[in-house]
Each structure stands twice: as structure tokens, then as C-alpha cells.
């Protein structure tokens, strides 16, 4: 019995340690610049002459080739992020069924002699374009009723179906 207690205690300590180990990596809530909220890292390249090309707003062949090889949409335009040295936004062209207009898609930054290429997280576009596209200031509402309108229609019909089932089960009469 005593041995059971000791092993249970050890197990609890082990679980606590595991929790702390995992919780360390959870980003600060609500900070838009934490890595998982801002971008997903794709790969790195040697700088060489790429930085000067990017500064001249030219998409380097090497970069677009690498992106297409990995199955990402090809870049079309580069823009320097103002007041930040060595960081660029790379845009992708309008591509009818998937992107209705030009989209900010990749984030390139220079670290030492490496170029880190990342893809912007969806949240970034959600926050930046939502108010402009829908004229509604509440981020949750335009998500619920506009971007995910089909989903909400389904949810409403789920509630409707639940109500109808309760009516059919409990209101045992000939007329509804």
C-alpha cells in the first residue's frame, strides 16, 4: 500500500515536470509577433547577391525556383518592410480560383549570412484585411458570419434539427 502511494506521488511529480516542460514553449497569449502566430518557417538560403536583388524589388530566380520546387505559389513582387533593415514582404500574384487579388504571402529576413524564408500565418491576413474587407470592427463576428458563413449556416441548422427532434420525441400529438 505504501509503495503504491510513493509511486503515485512520483507519477504526479513526473506529470508536473512534463507540464512545465511543455508550458515553457507555449507563446505569450495575444502577442501577434510570437513565431507561431506570425509565420511558419519554410527554409533558409545563402545570402550571396540575393539581398541586393531584393532591395531592388526584383524576385531572385533562386528564391522562386526553390519555392516552386517545394510546391508553394510562385512569388511575383517584393516590397521592403519600411524602417526595418533586412526584412522583405514577398507577394504572390492574383490566381483566379484561389486568390481573388494579390496577397502578401512570404516573409524574408536576413540573419547573418542566411536568408530565412517564412510563410505568413493565416491570422496575419485575418487581422490586417478583415476590417477593410467587411467594415465590421469585431474580429470574431466577421469570422463567424462572413468568412465562415457556410459553417454558421450549418451550426444553425444543427440547432434547428435538435429542436425538431425534441418536438417529435416529447410532443406526442398528432399535430406538430
Amino acid at each position: 500500500m505504501n509503495r503504491l502511494k510513493v509511486s503515485a506521488f512520483l507519477l504526479i511529480i513526473l506529470l508536473c515536470a512534463l507540464f512545465i516542460y511543455v508550458a515553457e514553449d507555449i507563446p505569450v497569449f495575444g502577442d501577434p509577433n510570437t513565431p507561431p502566430l506570425k509565420s511558419v518557417e519554410l527554409f533558409t538560403l545563402e545570402v550571396d547577391s540575393l539581398a541586393s536583388l531584393l532591395n531592388q524589388h526584383i524576385v531572385p530566380e533562386k528564391l522562386s525556383g526553390e519555392l516552386v520546387k517545394r510546391g508553394f505559389p510562385p512569388p511575383s513582387r517584393v516590397e521592403k518592410i519600411s524602417d526595418l533593415e533586412g526584412e522583405w514582404n514577398v507577394f504572390i500574384a492574383k490566381e483566379e480560383p484561389r486568390y481573388a487579388r494579390e496577397e502578401k504571402y512570404y516573409w524574408v529576413r536576413k540573419e547573418g549570412d542566411k536568408l530565412r524564408i517564412s510563410r505568413y500565418a493565416f491570422v496575419v491576413r485575418w487581422i490586417e484585411k478583415g476590417l477593410e474587407e467587411t467594415a465590421v470592427s469585431n474580429m470574431v463576428t466577421y469570422g463567424l458570419a462572413d468568412y465562415r458563413g457556410y459553417d454558421t449556416l450549418g451550426e444553425t441548422s444543427v440547432i434547428f434539427t435538435a429542436g425538431i427532434s425534441v418536438i417529435l420525441l416529447l410532443r406526442r400529438r398528432s399535430r406538430l
Binding site: T134, A135, N138, T141, Y142, L144, G149, T156, V166
Partner: protein, 142 residues
């Protein structure tokens, strides 16, 4: 108390676009007004205030409103089949303003359905309970 609850529910639905709130929450708050009425008075009184026929109609009306806004969007987008893209419905002259207004109507539809269904489930359950109590009383009297 009841009119205040209902007013608050309408506020929650209408201000879903600007602050916290929306159709689901507002609908439940509205239904809680009926539930409060039944708790304070009785089931028959509640049923005269919110009759069964109106309840059944409202429960599907909200869903029809939602799907109808989507169909209007198809009609006004003239063949592009933009279902639920509210921008095409000409409430105002601006595309993005239209989207905001369409969202408000959709929220109202959600609110109506949720309100009617919540009230309907509550009425049905309490009716069942009342029926059973009557049966027990009859058995006891025998």
C-alpha cells in the same frame, strides 16, 4: 424584468458587429425571458404569451432568413453564384458596407432560430414533467 431582459437580448444581437455578442448569445438571452416568465407564473400563462404555433414558425423562420440572404446574394451577383457573399446585395452603395449589413441580418436569423428552439425545448420538457406529475397525483388519489 422581462422587457429589460428582452431589450438586453436585442442589444446583444444588434451590437454583435461592434462588441462582444451575436446571434447565438442574444437568442439564448431572449429565450431566458420566456423561461423566467414560466418560472414566475405558470406553463399555461407562458404558452398564451408565446403560443405553440408562433414558436414553430419562428424556429424555422430564422433559418429561412439566413438561407434567404444567401439566395439574395446569388440573385444579385447575377450568375456568379456567390452564395453568402453579402457584398452583392445592394443595401447601400458600398460593397464592404453591404457585407456588414448582410452580417447583421444573418445574426438576426441566428438569433430568431436559437430563441425559438431554446424556448421550444424548455416548454416541451416542462410540459412532459407536468403531465407526469398529474398522472402521479391521479394514481395517489386512487
Amino acid at each position: 424584468m422581462i422587457p429589460f431582459i428582452q431589450l438586453f437580448a436585442l442589444y446583444v444581437i444588434i451590437h454583435g458587429a461592434g462588441g462582444p455578442g451575436g446571434g447565438f448569445q442574444g437568442g439564448v438571452v431572449f429565450a431566458s425571458a420566456f423561461i423566467l416568465y414560466v418560472i414566475v407564473f405558470n406553463l399555461a400563462g407562458g404558452r398564451t404569451r408565446f403560443p405553440e404555433s408562433a414558436n414553430t414558425i419562428f424556429s424555422s423562420l430564422g433559418l429561412y432568413l439566413y438561407a434567404g440572404i444567401g439566395l439574395l446574394a446569388i440573385i444579385f451577383s447575377s450568375g456568379a453564384a456567390q452564395y453568402l457573399n453579402y457584398g452583392f446585395i445592394p443595401f447601400t452603395s458600398d460593397f464592404h458596407e453591404n457585407r456588414a449589413l448582410g452580417m447583421d441580418f444573418v445574426e438576426m436569423g441566428i438569433g430568431i432560430t436559437v430563441m425559438a428552439i431554446t424556448a421550444s425545448i424548455f416548454f416541451d420538457l416542462s410540459q412532459q414533467d407536468e403531465k407526469r406529475r398529474e398522472e402521479e397525483e391521479e394514481e395517489e388519489s386512487k
